[in-house]
Each structure stands twice: as C-alpha cells, then as structure tokens.
Symmetry: D2
C-alpha cells in the first residue's frame, strides 16, 4: 500500500481543468517563446487581476529560475540582495544567486520574516562604513509571501518594508511561489492589487498551486522592465513551447480557480492544525497557510510515518522532532479525515 | 484563415500518447526533483536503448539550459568550449555560456559542421603559444547532431573528432536537441549506442521531437558524472515535478515512438525537398533531416507566405531569399500535400 | 602638524632594503609575467624557508586578488568556502568570492577563529540533508593566520582543522596577509614549514609586511597546482613586470628580513598593549600580534585622536568605543614612546 | 653576454624620476586605497591634461584588470562588447571578459582596427533579428589606441565610431595601454583632450610607458561614474598602497614626462623601421608607433637572434617569419645603433 503524502505541495500533476485545456489545444499551431495568443491572454488576465494595467508579465518554469533571473536582472555586480537567513534563496537553491555573482545579505529571521527596521539598519550600516566600497552594497530586498515557514507578512509590515526600500531607492521583490496559499488564508490582509503596489516585482506561483509548472513574474516598477526577455533567455528559462505556460495561467486566472485551489489547501491545513493543537502538540511556527510545522514526540511520529509521508524538519530535542505537514490544491479531504483520525488515536 | 506553419519544430504540443499518459498519471503522488519511479524507469529505458548500462541520465527542461548546465559542469573557469561559428551556443543562446564564465572558441563551419583537423589545429595552436596561459584553454568540444543546418556528421567524422578529443583528453559533447531527426534520416550511419560511445555526454532532445518539453542528458564518461545534480539545481533546471519528464521519456522510449515520430518528419521534409529541387530551386544547405534550407525568388516566397509561415534565414541577393522550411513529428501529411501543390504551381 | 598613524599596517612604502634593490635592478632587462630570474630565485628561497621543495610558488599583487584567485581555482561551481563570519572574504572584499560564483559559508567566530568541530558539523549537516544538491556543498576551508582580530590558531587547532579537511577531502587554505606578524609573535607555536604541511595552500603576505605590495602564494597540495597561472592571468593578477614581486621577495626571504620586520611590529604592539592594560583599559580581543583591540572611553579616545590616527572598530556602548591600534614593520619606536606617554597621561 | 631585448615594452623597471620619488616619499604616512594626497594630486593633473575637469580618475594596476573592471562596470549581464578580432580582450586575457559573464562580439580587423560602419552593421543586425533576445546584445565598443599592431585610428575614424555609439547610446571605451606611444607618434592627429571627448572612458597606460605599473582610468561620461570604486575593489584591483600609483602618475603627468618618454620610443622605432625598409624587408603592418612588425627571411632572423631578443609573431611562409620589434621609453639609443648596424650587415 502506498503511503499518503503530506510531504510537499508538488506531489501531484495539475488541476484537471488545466490538463483538459492542454489536451484541447494540443495540436494548435502556435509560435514559440511566449509570444503566442495564450500567453498574451494570460498576461492580460493577470494584469487585470492585479489591477496593474501597465505591468509586464513573464512566465518562467520554476522558482529557483525565477528568483535567479529576477535578482540578476536588478542588481549591479557589486550589489547583494537582502534576505532572511531562512529565505529560499539563502539556503535551498544551491547558491544560484551567488552563481550569478551576488551575495545574499542575510538578516536574522523570526518565523521566516524580516522587519523593516532590520532592513533599514542594514542599509544605514553599509553607508556609515568607512569605505563602503569594501563591502557588498545592499541593492534590493527579497522576501517570500508566504514565507518558507508558512507565515504571512501583514499589510503593515509589507508597507513598512516598502517604505524603507523607497527611501533607499532599492526594489522590493516578493517570492510568491506559494502566493495563493497566502492570499487565500484567513489571516491574510493583503490583496493581489495591493501586492502589486507594494512590490516592485513579484511572482504568482503556479508549480505549487495547481499548475504542472510555471511562475508568472509581474514587474510593476517600470525601471525593471527593460530587456527582461534577454535575462530569461540567457538564464535558460525561455520555454520553447511558451504556450504551455500561457494555457495554464489562462485557466488559473479564470473563474477564480487560483484562489479556489489555494483555499482548499489552506482549509485542509487548518483542519490538521486544529487536530494537532487539540491533542496538545506544540506548533513550531504559527502558520496560517498550507504548511504546518509541529513538534511531535518521536514515537508518535514513527507511528504516523507508517501510513503517511511527512517532512522531517529537524530534531527539536532527543525525544522530539519538528515536522512539516503540507497540504495542497490536490489534497483529498478523505485523506485528511484519515490523518486526523490517526492523530486523535495517538 | 490561419496560415499553415512550417516555421519550426515546436509549433504544436506533444504526441497524443504522451499527453494521454500525463492525464492517466495526473493524480498519482510522486516525490519531486526527478527521483520518482517514472524518471527511474525512463532512465532505465534510455540506458537500454543506448546500450550504456553505466550511463547517468538526467532530465532537463530545455536546450539552452541543458547546454549551459553540461558545459559549465565540464570546464574549469579558464577553459572554453570549441564550437562551430554557427553552433547554437555561439549565436542563439544570449551568451548563456559566457554568462557561466566561459568563452566559446569558434571554428569556421562548413554546412554547420567542423572537422577533426580544425579541432586538432586549435589545440596545437594553443599549446604552441608562448605563454598559453594568456589565452583561453580549449577544454571540450561541442557539436550538434544534426547541426543547426540540418546536416549530419558521418560516423567517420564523429570518430575522427572523438579521437582528437581522446588524444588531448578533452570531452566531446553532442547537442542532440534534434537527435531523433538525425538518427531517423536515410543518410544517418550512426546508431544511438554508437553515439553513446563516441560522445562523453550528449542529450536526446524531446522539446522538438514530440514531447511537451524535455532533454534527456546521457553522461557516459564516468569523470563527468560527479555531483551533476548540483549543477542542475544551481542552474534552475531541476523541475519540481520531475515526473513530467519521466513520464514523457517513458513514452518516447517505448514502442520505438521516438524514432517513429522523427521518421515521419524526415519523410515529409524529403517530399518538400524533392518538390523544390524538381522545380529547380537551389538548396542553400544539403540537409537530409527535417529542416530544409532553400534559396527562393522573392516573389515566389511572397506567394507561398500567403498561405504558409516559413522561416526567413537571410537575403541571398537582391532578388532571392534563403528560407528554412521545417517539418516535425506533428506535421500533417495533407498540409505537405498542399504545400507541394502550391510549389508546383509557382 | 601631521598626526601619527596607528591606523593600519600599510601606511608607509616598503623596507628600505627592498627599495634599494629596486633601484639597483631598475634598468636590467627581464622578461615579464613572473618568469624572470628574480622570481625564480625568490621562489627557491620560499620553498627552502618552507621546507617544501615541491611546492609551487606564485606571486600576486594584493590580498583580495589572492583570495579570489585561490578560492576560484579550487572550488567547483556549486561549492562554497567555509569561513568565519568575521573572515576577510566574508565581509571586506565587496563580494569578490560571490563575484566568482561561490557562496561563503560562514560559521560563528570566537575572537576571529573557527574550530574543527564547527567545520565538521557543517560538513556532516550538508551530507545528512535530504537532497544535499539543493544546498551549496562545502568545498574548502578558509582561515586567516593571524585572524582579522590579530589572534592566532594554536598548532593543535590547526592540526584539528587539517584533520577534518583530510577526512572530508577538502583543502585548507590559510590567508597569510599578516603571516609574519603571526609567526613572529611570542605566542606562536607554528613554524612556516609546519604551516606548509598543515595547509594545502597559503600565502606569505608582503603588502602589510614590508613590501610595496605582493603576496606569495604557496601551493603544497599537488592537486591544486595545475594551470594556476591561467587563473592568475584571468583574474587580472599577472603583473607584467613580475620582477618587481621577485625582487621584493628575494629581499624579504634573505637575512631573516621578513621575520625581523614582523618582530619589530609585534614588540611595539606589545608595548602599547601593556601600557593600555596597566591603565586598566579592557582588551576587546586578546591579540598577541600587531593589531590591538581595546575598549576606550569616548573622551579618552577623542584626546588621543588629536595626535594619533586610530581605527574605530565599533561602539561598545554609549560611552565607550572599540578601537584598533595597529603597528607595522615601519612603526617608529619614538612614536610608540609618545603614544605610551600620552596613554599614561589620560 | 646577455642579449639585447626588443621583445616588449615592459622589460625594464621605470623612469628614474619616478623611482626617485618613490624613494623620497617612502616613509611618508598615507592612508590607503587611493585616497591619499598623491592620488588626489595626480587625478588633478590628469583632469587638467585632458581638459576634462569633471572626469573621474581611478588608478588600477594592470591592463587586463583595467579592461575587465571597466567593461563589467558598463555592461548589463546579457550584453557583450564589440571589439576587433585582434583586440587584446578577445585574444590575450584568458577570457577575463567572459569570466565576468560577457561575450566579446568580434568584428574582422584591418591592421588591428575596426571601422564605424562595421559597428553600425553589427548593431543594425542585432536589432533587425527576429527575436533579438536570443542573441547577445551589443552594449559597448572597445578599441585600442594604438592597436595591438601599433596602428592608429585617425581623428575622423574615432569621430565616426563615436557618432555610431552616440546614435545607439552605447559607450565607447578606448584601451590606452600604449596611449603615449600613440599620442607621441608623428602620424597622430588626436590630442588627449580630444580623446577625452570622443571616448566615454579610456585609460592612460603606465605599465608600458615608464611606470613600474599602473593604468589611469579616465571616465568622462557621467553615467559610467557611479560606484566605480566598488568594481575596483571587487575585481581585486584596489591597491592597498594606492600612493604608489599616485606618485607615479604625479611624475608622469608633470614636465611633459609621459609624452617625452613615449616620443623617445617612437623615434627609436622609426629608426629601426627605416633601416629595415631600406634593406627591402616588408612591413607586415604599417605602424607609426613603438611596435614594428616586419617579415624577415628565416636565416636573417636567426642571425639577429644571436644578439637580440625579438618577438616571433607568426610564420609568414616556409622561409619567412613575421616578427615584432618593440622599443620603449627605456630603449638605449646605442642599442638601436647596434641593431641597425647588424640589420645593414644582413
């Protein structure tokens, strides 16, 4: 018997509506590299949803690629990107940012988040240095929404970071690999149009949100738009059959599909969280989205692992382990029912 | 009315068998990043087809990505890659190789090909220089099979290049973005198992050969295998849902599908070539594969362009244009019939 | 009146003996790029002093250049260099390491030093990770001797780090920009020949140690020797008039000049340290070499700053400042006399 | 007996006046990294000589370093630098430009020079391409004055290139490693102030022109000035004892020393050229500066090589060799007398 996987949010293929459209359009003849009618339509839908009629929209295949392409399009060679120590670009992308020549300037994170004051201090410190040119110049800010720990920046927190960035004239980039799970969360107080105003560039993740793959990069700051397609191509991110990305985002952006899929995941995650809390387990991080981090006794964990695949995040102490339990757009309600039952039996 | 496209070999989606399998497997739960059972099975099929039981097989999304990842995994920082002036990496990848720090050391090409003696001379010249360390050291050879002009290296030509590479202990890398169209050609005298012996690393292209996307990298030289997954991840090429690549190659490598699709394209290209030759048009390059390059009078070209999309390759003289006509696995026989009719009418 | 500078160890030109030799040899005709007789002789002297007859010796102009050249000659693209958070490459080289594509993997430092167990843990953690290829692979260790805080690794500490490196087959690189000030210290229990055995590559700093400029890189690990001159040239470090480096190191390595100059600096630093300790000031770091770090009351500091240039290192608290006082081969005994007098008067 | 060297223009140390100043100033205490009074004064002198009061002036150590630093400060990651196939950056810098991520876009050279129309065509071709983002975008022009073959661009030729650059809004960079030998030539019709107007950035070479080392970078285009010191530091080019560069340029820029030294070299080269022409030898390139390229019969060459070191440039045919004969600021008139005598005796 296969175990049920709550390991990550990319265990399945894609939302059936999307696959259906891929089947229907399969033998259409389209030009390549993202200049086909599907991509154009998808871009239009995204601009509309974001209430950002002037934004540039580009489709990339994956998150590491999107991060590296965006960041290297913004920074000058001697600049680095400010990020949380737990930021995806700082720890889980095999140094893709450094590979493009840039330092990740890490700030200590609390529950995956950094705060405006930390960003300001980092900038102040740099320019106060005697001979700032001996150190890497902070050239932009990177945050994830939701963070790698499922947490959310409040509208106020985002606005504060945005304001520091404006003051120092550096762009704010929001990694939205799980953007939908954030926007669909009960605790979210930011809308996509607000995100489009607060960030200079961000992306609306598809890979973890119901598409086979794909990240829709939205550039609202005009200064960052120039020649972005060169960056995509040079970075190996320009899909020959760009239509595949266009078609997927056409579906996601229609009939509220993107948020519906995300809401489902968040709801299932909430059910699991409630069950775990009721049993007295300790949250490792207070996450209101599809990733739940809990500290479990090792023997309870082993018991669950007989039926479920969870993600081991670290050893809390000799007898406890921190685990990540992840739902997705594809998580079946009945599988969550089973998991909750088994949690209750622990 | 939509024009019929003979513009490139990635105008359509993918072979219906493949899409069917994607539908069937869509809700399977698989682990990510290419470690799922489909990828494992596809690797096994490829090793078997290549008669290379020890080869490492990795799946990447696109050609530019595959080229940059492979080349940067081989070269030391001060080395460059020998390639034809017309090689894809030299002209159409926005400097992705240079972006990874390496010079493309170009040799003049004849019909898209370079010869062993040119490679040898390049190496001899470098090491004869007084102070070779003032120049980029040739560190590997890159060729395309078929070339960017649809032409094929003979078994002997490949063997000669292979031997020079062995002598100078540098690897030979074969870009196989259109590998199938080469192997399926009537003029091909190389088999895939022979290719696996002649090249240190090569790839079996999927994007242009019936898959939605994907390139299967085959590393036969043990010295090049170490830590290749780090390169894939760092280069942004590690697809979260690696299964998509596995499933596609499972299909392509079974029931001779890969070569069947390619053979169809080559046959249709041959029909078009014969029609053009019969009418007295001049071949720009003698290609035995799916890309045909012909010199057409401008007014005849304009006439064809009313119904068909062709690829303009350059201006031969004031009254003639060089065009590329491209077939693919998806080219409909009846569309070729129409094109031939229209050619005959010119 | 000019203030007396205790700001750094590169305020003056060079040891007069060296300048004298530059004058004497000025109109000699020599071939360029480090292949002249002076360079050859200097290399021979260094190999002898290090008791490393098989070592390769190369001369570079400065420290940042030496660090970047050495590190990029060792690491593969997906690897990073382990260093102290306070290591020069981590903070004061404008991201030169990242510019060459590599992450600096920082470990918390104590008085500028890291310990073998930290290095081991970093390696263990990496290889224990599920999917290590998603993170940067630790590929070498960088330490400074003395550290950026003037402190020294003991022979035992170096041996322990060396042993972890051997176990994991990664090289140990010792930044010796101030090597002499370390070796000449009373607390040093390592000799240059021992350093040559413990490190795979290190350099004997000239710039801060009596030369106009220059760093002599000593490569003892045969695996790291290949094609190093290509790296030097590519990195812009191959001085056309290489003789200038050869002549300077010929002088430094004869008649014990290198250590004599360093010993003088260390002795003057010791005198200053004693004076400050006697007055009850607190050492910020217990340094036995030419850099002294003390916490001074702000008003006392201001008083000293009227006559002397010191280096402000940070604000200890509202009323105290951490300063660096630096001596060098060129520090005049009478200037130290004056400083001590003024300290005593505070 | 040592052979007399006409091999290159960096066989000796430096002009005695300069060395004298280094001796006189040796024990001065100066702050580092180019912020000392000598550097400031030298910058002022250069601005005055160039009649460019607003120019930024920076001192770097060597030519490869200067080229790589300047070019990487200008280009965006997807851009390349247009250069002659014979340009120093294209052939003799071990791929330093590619190492910084950029392609050198080479144009065929005539006697080391490229022409405005070639540059324009390269730009036109790029932007006419269907999908320009698939190729490297030309982002600047690099020329050498004099060229690597000793030849000179006329004022008109420079103006034409300048105008194309203006039209396409890309900077013109002039590598002046041998600038003085050009300006001092009888055939030169450009002044330094004119150069400062035609180029957006250029450098006044020291290493080959009488200094121990050093290249003075002059940035006249305000858009290229920002944060240049970060580039210098990151590239390993920020000399700790920056004073050494300041002092050398103070001397070179006073009393017309720079041009006097160059004129001497050009005159000696002219004497040699006349002697060779009178004997009927064929010029390989018509150079009016300190480098002379001639085709000599192999037996005559061998005869000369018994007493002189010349630079072998290539094999003209089975019986003839192309050689470079190089004079410099340090070439002794009596050695040229001897060489001419020996030429006459051939």
């Amino acid at each position: 018997m296969n175990k049920i996987q709550f390991q990550c949010d990319y265990n399945e293929g894609c939302a059936p509506q999307i696959l259906q459209r891929l089947v229907e359009t399969n033998l259409e003849q389209n030009i390549g590299y993202g200049e086909d009618p599907h991509c154009k339509h998808a871009r239009e839908l995204i601009r509309k949803t974001c209430e950002a009629p002037e934004a540039d929209v580009h489709f990339l295949v994956g998150g590491t690629q999107a991060n590296a392409t965006i960041i290297s399009s913004i920074l000058r060679p001697y600049q680095g990107v400010i990020a949380a120590t737990t930021g995806h670009i700082a720890v889980h992308e095999t140094g893709a940012i450094e590979h493009s020549g840039h330092k990740v300037l890490t700030l200590p994170a609390t529950n995956g988040k950094i705060q405006a004051e930390q960003v300001r201090q980092c900038l102040v410190d740099h320019y106060n240095e005697d001979g700032p040119e001996h150190a890497v110049q902070p050239g932009m800010v990177y945050i994830s929404y939701p963070t790698e720990y499922g947490t959310l920046y409040s509208n106020q927190e985002l606005t504060d970071i945005h304001n520091v960035c404006r003051e120092y004239r550096i762009p704010l980039f929001v990694d939205g690999a799980r953007m939908g799970y954030g926007l669909a969360s009960k605790e979210c107080d930011v809308t996509l149009p607000e995100m489009a105003k607060l960030a200079d560039v961000f992306y609306i993740g598809g890979t973890k949100q119901g598409a086979l793959f794909g990240e829709a990069v939205v550039i609202t700051n005009p200064a960052l738009k120039k020649d972005f397609r060169y960056f995509i191509k040079q970075g190996g991110g320009m899909l020959a059959k760009g239509r595949l990305l266009g078609i997927q985002y056409e579906e996601l952006m229609q009939n509220d599909l993107y948020l519906k899929l995300a809401r489902h995941a968040d709801e299932q995650a909430e059910r699991i969280r409630e069950a775990l809390l009721k049993k007295g387990y300790k949250m490792a991080v207070p996450s209101p989205t599809n990733q739940q981090f809990f500290v479990l006794p090792n023997d309870h964990l082993r018991e669950l692992q007989e039926k479920y695949v969870l993600s081991v995040w670290g050893h809390a102490d000799a007898n406890h382990t921190t685990v990540r339990i992840c739902t997705s757009w594809a998580t079946k309600k009945e599988n969550v029912d089973k998991l909750i039952e088994d949690i209750n039996r622990l």
